[in-house]
């Protein structure tokens, strides 16, 4: 147990990676052995994430240095800068890792029966594990270049999975768009890393933040990083890839690609708050993030209304919901240097934005899964060719209702809890923004009502007479997410206090992040 706690940051990455390498070898041993192995690895990784989470929430930031004689020794004996790669796990990292793990487990269980009879299953699962590793690595790492490498892993795995249905032309194109955007954004990140490295000869985030001088080159690097991550998280001016990719990705993968954009959002926050934040005036950057958020919210939902493809519709809603997260955290960023405003509403706004990340990963993931369940049974994503499915697919309909109510911010559900935090605090920052946010929420509700009526109620389409409920593993996959949503809805206060507020504090508290690594420097 001691061993597991000490080495958990490394094992969280290493075990799924090992699984990804072993799965192609297991392919010939039979599907049952492979699935059991996958479940075991995923379960054990989830257990390790939980162990690490408990450790971080009770004991503070954890540093794990790869290849050092002592894991905590980020800086070699008697030297002044970190040399090796280290993972630095603080509350926000582990918060994202928890969200990632839950979504991955649900997506994996869902895929088990969804893939029955398809070819290339072992490669599919291998890539699924790699996508999981990519997200976890991106969230746990404390090194800029390592972040780039994990960003590439998740991009390539995501693109390969997105075009899984190669017999459909749009699937290949969706994957191609995703990989072009990913490649360009990753190269921009690498360029920014090069600029930072050239000035400080450092790659560790904490050490870079410690030495940051905020000169012209640093600002260029910040610009490149921000553009790259906004591109990757599908913020509005650069969102065009998202509907195409989300619409074509196979079941289980869409929620994971969506979660990987949330991981990019984490990277954006990490860069703005931890790498730059603190000593320099973040007000302007905060406003940029707010404007991006408002644009994403508004344009996303407006584009969503008139879609007839159910997954494209949900993809536009996903863009719109990302806007809330950007808005909440952007307000926090705008008032970061003003302690009074930060204490009175900035922290709440950030709590809302960060809480929204996990809420959204849960209900948006579940909505994507329900859409995919419908596609699985009736073979079309066109809303005009659906109808009366509620009678035949009762569970799917129930899950859809839960997800739709949660995403629209209807009171008992968790979406309401995070949106309320955002509305209240943003209202004190700028009332207009809050009004826009509420308006977007209403439009979201209207849009999902439309989907519900056209897909699940009304007369049965004659062509859909043979439709049955989806297989059990798909229901369990959705059920896992639904259970989490219900838990979060019943105890929002508990969740905010236990995992969201520490995450916010970790983002704001740049000094302790730096201290985690540079504390040992002479």
């Amino acid at each position: 147990m001691e061993f597991l706690t000490v080495h958990s940051p490394a094992l969280i990455i290493a075990l799924p990676l090992l699984a990804a390498f072993v799965i192609p070898l297991l392919g010939r041993a039979g599907a049952t052995i492979r699935d059991t192995f996958n479940v075991a690895i995923l379960g054990f990784t989830a257990f390790l994430v939980a162990v690490l989470a408990i450790d971080v929430y009770t004991g503070g930031t954890r540093v794990y240095t790869f290849g050092a004689t002592v894991p905590e020794m980020a800086i070699p004996q008697g030297y002044m800068v970190p040399v090796r790669i280290m993972f630095e796990v603080d509350a926000i990292s582990i918060f994202m890792a928890l969200a990632t793990t839950v979504v991955t487990i649900a997506a994996f269980i869902y895929s088990l029966q969804f893939l029955k009879g398809e070819t290339g299953q072992e490669r599919f699962y291998s890539l699924l594990m790699l996508l999981f590793v990519g997200m976890l690595g991106l969230e746990l790492t404390g090194d800029m270049f390592n972040m780039f490498v994990f960003l590439e892993i998740l991009s390539i795995a995501g693109a390969g999975l997105a075009s899984y249905r190669v017999n459909m032309a749009d699937a290949v194109e969706g994957g191609f768009k995703y990989i072009v955007i990913s490649a360009v954004s990753a190269l921009m990140v690498l360029f920014a890393i090069g600029i930072l490295y050239a000035q400080y000869n450092l790659l560790s985030i904490a050490a870079l933040a410690h030495n940051m001088q905020y000169n012209t080159l640093d600002m260029i690097a910040l610009g490149l990083l921000a553009i790259a991550f906004v591109m990757k998280l599908a913020g509005v001016p650069l969102h065009m890839w998202a509907p195409d990719t989300y619409a074509v990705a196979p079941a289980g993968i869409t929620p994971m690609i969506y979660t990987s954009s949330a991981a990019s959002m984490y990277a954006l926050y990490r860069v703005t708050f931890t790498l730059y934040g603190g000593a320099f005036d973040t007000g302007a950057i905060g406003w940029v993030v707010i404007i991006l958020g408002v644009l994403s919210m508004f344009i996303g939902v407006m584009m969503a209304i008139h879609q007839t493809d159910i997954k494209r519709l949900m993809a536009y809603h996903a863009i719109s919901q990302s806007g809330y997260m950007l808005l909440g955290v952007g307000v926090g960023l705008a008032v970061l240097t003003d302690p009074v405003a930060l204490a009175s509403y900035g922290r709440d706004a950030m709590n809302g934005g960060i809480f929204h990340i996990i809420n959204n990963a849960l209900y948006k993931g579940m909505l994507f899964l329900t859409a995919e369940a419908i596609f699985f049974r009736i073979g079309t994503r066109d809303l005009n060719r659906m109808g009366g499915l509620g009678h035949k697919m009762k569970w799917t309909a129930a899950f859809f209702i839960i997800g739709a109510l949660a995403i629209s911010g209807i009171p008992p559900f968790n979406g309401f809890a995070s949106k309320l935090l955002i509305y209240e605090s943003v209202f004190r920052f700028n009332p207009l923004l809050s009004v826009i946010a509420m308006f977007v929420s209403l439009v979201t509700l209207a849009s999902f009502t439309k989907v519900f009526y056209s897909a699940f109620t009304g007369a049965e389409m004659p062509s859909l007479g043979q439709v049955r409920e989806v297989p059990r593993s798909m229901l369990i996959g959705m059920g896992v997410l639904a259970a989490c949503i219900i838990f979060f809805s019943i105890f929002p206060g508990l969740v905010v206090d236990a995992i969201v507020a520490p995450a916010t504090d970790a983002l704001i508290d740049q000094a302790s992040y730096i201290n985690g690594v540079m504390g040992a420097a002479p």
Partner: protein, 92 residues
Amino acid sequence: MRQIAGWILLIVLVAFLISGALSMHPFGYPPSDMDDYMIENSQAETANNNVVAAVLFDYRGLDTLGEATVLFTAVTGVLLLFRALKRKEKGS
């Protein structure tokens, strides 16, 4: 419209990059805190003459694992996309 916006974006970005290039450290005289440690200690710590190999596999080993993983991911992805869509009959 799209053309004009594209050109503006392109010119602004390249201008930024060139101004950045001019304010870089002079070519050939980089700061080297972290790298000096590796050059000095790679032989003693990793028993290795090739400092680049020491950086690749020891000091920054996780990056190389990630890099190998990227290659593995890409190969898996390529083979996934080129897979046969229908299962072959047993024994053929």
